[in-house]
Amino acid sequence: MAEYLVDIKNERLSFFTPAGEVKALNDVSIQLKEGEVLGIVGESGSGKSVTAYSLMGLTAHPGKLLGGELHFNGHQIEKMTDKEMRKIRGNEISIIFQDPMTSLNPVYTIGNQITEVIKLHTDKDSKQAKARAKELLELVGINEPDKRLKQYPHELSGGMRQRVMIAIALACEPKLLIADEPTTALDVTIQAQILELMMELKDKLGMAIIMITHDLGVVASMCERIAVMYAGRIVEYGTTDDIFYHPKHQYTKGLIRSIPRLDTKEHERLIPIEGTPVDLLNPPEGCPFAPRCDAAMKICLREMPPVSAFGDVHYTQCWLNQKEEFEKGASHE
């Protein structure tokens, strides 16, 4: 397993709410090598964040891991105690959250919140930790670091706060950085700056990144691999080129059709994906996307499609691909 930094195999996770079991993750598998960037794309509730949080052992309250293996850097996450997990969090795996406005504790200074994580995971004393914090602020492009260290979160702008969050995440030079929609809450110009900063730091520090987003534009520019999630499943997985130029799943195709492009003609309209996401309390028997799929067939509504692979790293779960195989097989007979 050493060849992968992250190797999640057949993860199943449910939230046990008063209304019933919500199957948030069904057979999710993800691999990621050191220094690689993986994008996880999908709409709200598709299980992107849940996958990432479970890797950090941060599954929220009624959620329970039901099966699968989660390997990270030689650790087997699902078997670790909370105490062992705490040594990894913030140290080997870090995370940046969506909303920088609420992710920092309002009653402590920036300096306090950065040095806290440094002192927790390293032997540095207060003075060294402060020096490191200053260095980190410079690294993430914040000017006047000495002044900023003494300021409170409410005195900083949104983009600035997200830089601080990145500084906290990078404090212990993690092997893996999870970015959970890091730019959704920011202005467009700031978005580009933050993404650029993340790529720059990745090259400098050599960490792997899992980029969670619903913005295909973001993953196209940053990621080597992309996992497309729908209703708690990875419906398609492949390199960025595979996903953008040879999409095999109807949902992926729909997503790509719905992004505006420079060469879109004036009279052409963007094509939205009709319908609403599935209710994970009562998931359909067959392919979860079938009710919204233009090309749905009878089998789609009845059975979950098996995995079809295209080369080493590109695979998908869609009956349309099985149809070709089936027809080929049928003609042979």
């Binding site: 941060l58 609420t102 920092l104 009653v107 994580v117």
Partner: protein, 305 residues
Amino acid sequence: MAKYIVKRILLAIVTIWAVATLTFFLMNLVPGGPFLSEKAISPQAQAALEAKYGLDKPMFQRYLNYVTSAAHGDFGDSLKQRGRTVMSIITMKFPVSARVGGLSVLVSLTLGIPLGCIAALKRGKVTDSVISVVATCGIAVPSFVICTVMMYFFGVKLGVLPTMGLETAKHYIMPVTALSFYPTAYIMRLMRSSMLDVLGQDYMRTARAKGLAGGKILFKHALRNAILPVVTYVGPMLAYTITGSFVVEKIFVIPGLGGEFIKAINGRDYTLIMGTTIFLATLVIVMNVIVDIIYKIVDPRIKLK
């Protein structure tokens, strides 16, 4: 900061003046007077008494006199307790009430804050239900019920606790328990709901993602944010509690300021009523300023205006 304090002091003076004025005129407009109930005295003696205390002068004149001397720190003599100044009565009775009240505030904080936190952390579990039910019962039972029921069982039936006075430490047990019942329950509920609110905040997730241990997350990141509503409540509550509860002082025969105030009202001891009201108002205002300053220290987002 200095500007803020000056502003608050000026505002406090205006508020106290308004309270004093309102009380003065209300009190004097009400029919009756301090010496009417003393049936034994003759009309001449009554007139003499009224002249002695300046009650024969027109109301507005008396108001001006009172405000002038009060501004100089002279709150006059008690009309009913001959030969004693209002100040001396307050300084004698207040410490008694303050000891009982202060102790009960201490009890309610040391019980209420941890229990409220525990309930929030064990949300939905049996512990939470038990604490919440106890807290709801606590705010539902009026203090006179608690006092009398305790008095009956511990004082009369079992005879283990003294029922009146404040001579020994044992004497404090029942009044302090009775007084701390409501605030303890209230703080528990307040703490539980604000803790639940804080636990759902994004920065708590950040703290967990940093790899901090549960205790550190709770004490450093959650408690400081969650305690703010309790601070707001405790300030004025402390002021009211240390000036004495009428019910508790009446039932347990405690010579405190609360009972004295009721006596003064019923006997129309104008000067004592005024003195006590001003004293209480000042205490409440001072507590509010202290709360504001603590608030500013705990939460840097707050600007003192």
